[in-house]
Subunit: 327 residues, 4 copies
């Protein structure tokens, strides 16, 4: 294998806090180690349009604390065709890019894997998504920040909930994953959490809320994961209201608020470690790996394995604690 | 008029950040000045139930920074009847309460005015509502904090908006008032603001967004006041989407998030000044006054006047700046 | 007077949160109104070095929420000489700049006044300093944000103070002004405030703290303005400790933390209004004015008057409340 | 071994964010599992004074998000004598307390270990300290929150540093541990970090700062751990200033600010898991264990082992990244 001289870095899929810190780490590690580094704007779309940016160490100054991604992201259907993948590869090669660091979720990793398998360009994938739904890393980039954003919202809502004897339903992100909902439910001291990974009957929820009311709780907060099978916070609230009108009830949909914000220390450190490790892995001849955090160590997992296995990450003790700690 | 010996303080209507700081100021000023002070829980409902709390200076320790209200609030229909008002007054008198400080919005002030006019108990009203919709004070308690909460949300959403070339519609509180929407629109650097006080045609909005897109803005944020006559953020987004699909568009409903949170310095100082002035005004023999802020001075406005006049507070320069500063 | 075609904008002196929002307002209002606008980097130093930046509406995109100043500031001795002032003016003229908006404190305003008086170039000054020590505006740009920063620090320190029965001395900024100290003292619920505007004997402070201890307060927080004549928080703490060892005592020096951070809604709106009004005033033929906030209105004050009068802004009720509300 | 019926819980040593969330978890898990639970105020001091509080599930409502500790902490010399330990044990027994959960640092764990070894009462220790300096847990309670507090301060200081071409020295807590300094240094994007675990010559630091200045960095931030052997931020700043006056330099001492604040989601979840696991471990007959986090699992480590081994936790990649990422 020829020595790598110029690497490309890009973000793709939904943006997540910490992506900028990760781009910074990739760029500076590469330059420190004697490589050139090219930012690819708008992910796979940018590859098709040769939307390239020769980056210097100064270009990533003062971005470690900023949410979003300076390289932007986009969805790109054309890249998924064999012709699109070929065109992206040709554009990369003609610009001299001989290895890639991809930051994003499973769609991003799938695309990178295909590019490497079909055309032989080495790729490292960094799990960047607030959903925490990837195998290969205990935590994905942005998950900690998003969870902090949710609990700050819960803390604010609790102020007003407690002043009015109110019942609040708060819908949080995570697609098919209940990770944000479960952690935020525990950390927010909520009374119940509805998760995509577990069926919760509305009757069961009502029974629980009734027992809280009897227990002299002045207000209750229910976290609803967007992937919950009961159909979202508005729908759950409607059905609870039919049978249980002890409290006034309100719904909040946090929405894209959860994707933004300055990354937490945890996410900035994670982003820096993953970006640093990705460049070093490429220099060590690795290919098609997911760079992740296991315990407190950075580990590589083959992309095939990372994309094959499911990512069930709900901790058993947390699931039990939801009921125990909300008595 | 007999000398006042024991005052009652209560919060009523929607809660607002700074109410606790205001309760603290009322309690401590009263005790400092040799009065007894009684907290009335749950507003007018608490008067009907004699839900009274003899408060000490320590009872309001460590609450200045906490959102919501330790006295809670409630809606109370019974109080609005002559019999209800009479019963409330009788309960106050039999507990020895000979003057009141009411913290809340116009409904609260109306109730206090009725109580004073009918039964002769002196009352001072403090404008406590995030909506900033009362005559008699440039700013109401909680408005500054709520506006800060909204711009923090806008800042987070801007991160993700800019990463994706997206159009965001953010619905904010304020009932019939556009004060939060206008200030947050300016402070959040938003592209357009829909206000209850002004009709905005959807076509006009679309034209504006188109010109921004042509101007190479990578994303746009539109603030929609909940009282806007186009029917709320979801509805506006639908209608814009029909004719303008340059951007991916998303809706966020901030909801009760805006009522909570630790009060800002501005609101804590305002709360302290208003509570302090309300007690002093009672001691000086005043009755039926709204205690408010005009410029940087605390002033009294007769309740009749405060409740009679409209509260149009949208500053002309801010209205013009929405268009000028978003080019 | 010839019609103005190109204005220069600069920041000078200590930076303050909201300066970027103000630069944005100046630039966009000028462009909206058909003017060209030039950013002058590093204040008066930049004039001497012709460090000019032709600014577009996009150059000030996405900066409204960012602390500091994208135009930077610097101290500049050379400008204070007649030759320096002449050179600055010549550079401005040869670049076609025919009016100035200066954002900063009294030093900044003095320089701008000299430039206008000596060479006839119209200037508008915007009070940008966290110290709130200028005549001509109830509040200066950055003061509200700085005060919020201080009370967030006080809130955090109160957590640990209350857990340990501790006495804390917190030193805050403001140069010769006690505005930050007084407002933060009230809003932070502190037990005492030492101000440059008032002599406080250490014995008096000790007596007050003793009475609090007897009153079963579990902890006390004392705010010390940096301009207080007792010599700073460390010195005050030393002297209190000699005579009063009921509590363990700790000192915190907040320092430049207070100059940074994302501006509050209040400061962003104020910055936008002042920048907008400054450009409009220049277009209306005004010269040598301080653009400020009085009540809720934007007003102009002749620079001679603004620089001549003292700026004593400590509200009487706040001074009295420090003792009343901390019982 | 007799079945446990009543457990005592206390906090001791320096307070840390998350202690309240942990107390809540201990109290509610115990009550859920059919135990009685007693809060011991002021740590070992409270044992000597039988300062006991029979706690209900409601007593720990609405505290999960509050910094500090509702049980307070204190230092206690008397407990360290054999007579003191005996007296504490006698008081616990006469109140019916037959097991303990101790939340604190190594001093706290040493005391609990002695109590158990000498008098046979089962104890579980939970690592609660911002310093992250305990063996037996990857992260201690409060460390994540403290690090977030530090980077928020760094972010604010960077605003003003970048506006002025300034050099900042920020001193952070951690006693003999550089954990906060290292993580905050990486996450804050600082230029250099001085750690107790590594000697850094001032000449070396100056050389590094010079190369940054030559590299067109407009400002630099140096993190100094309070345990660094160069003698603290003020001293380091003095020595750098002697030889290197390219920048204006400023010092910030964050101090006890770092101990307060609302705990992060990470710390609230960790606190809840550790408290829950501690009660369950006691019920399972365990004794003298440190309850900690390893990877993403809760594990028990014998106290003898936890107190014997050193706790060097500076990750090698982070140490290398300080230089690589600050180019």
């Amino acid at each position: 294998m020829a020595r790598i001289k110029k690497i490309g870095v890009f973000t793709s899929g939904g943006d997540a806090p910490g992506m900028n810190a990760c781009i910074r780490a990739v760029v500076r590690t590469a330059i420190h180690d004697g490589l050139e580094v090219v930012g690819i704007r708008q992910g796979y779309q940018g590859m098709l349009e040769s939307n390239f940016w020769d980056m210097s160490a100064r270009d990533v100054g003062n971005i470690i604390h900023i949410g979003g991604t300076i390289l932007k992201t986009a969805r790109c259907l054309e890249f998924k065709t064999p012709e699109g993948t070929k065109k992206a590869y040709d554009n990369l090669r003609s610009y001299g890019i001989d290895a890639l660091v991809a930051i994003g979720g499973d769609g991003t990793a799938n695309g990178a894997s295909r590019l490497s398998l079909t055309h032989g360009i080495p790729v490292m994938c960094i799990p960047g998504t607030i959903d925490n739904d990837l195998y290969g890393s205990d935590f994905t980039l942005g998950f900690d920040t998003a969870t902090n954003t949710v609990i700050e919202a819960i803390d604010k809502i609790r102020d007003t909930a407690a002043s009015h004897n109110r019942l609040f339903f708060i819908e949080v992100m995570g697609r098919d994953s209940g990770c944000i909902a479960l952690r935020a439910g525990i950390a927010g001291g909520s009374e119940a959490v509805l998760l995509p990974e577990r069926d919760t009957a509305i009757d069961e929820l009502i029974e629980k809320l009734s027992s809280h009311a009897n227990n002299h709780k002045s207000s209750s907060i229910v976290i609803v994961a967007e992937g919950d099978k009961n159909g979202g916070a508005y729908h759950v609230a409607e059905r609870v209201k039919e049978k249980f009108d002890f409290y006034d009830s309100k719904v909040t949909i946090l929405g894209h608020l959860q994707r933004g914000g300055s990354p937490s220390s945890f996410d900035r450190v994670l982003a820096s470690r993953l970006g640093f490790a990705a460049v070093r892995a490429l220099l060590n001849g690795k290919d098609r790996q997911m760079v992740g955090l296991r315990g407190n160590a950075i580990v590589l997992t083959p992309l095939e394995e990372a994309l094959h296995f499911s990512h069930f990450k709900l901790e058993d003790d947390l699931l039990e604690m939801i009921n125990v700690l909300s008595i």
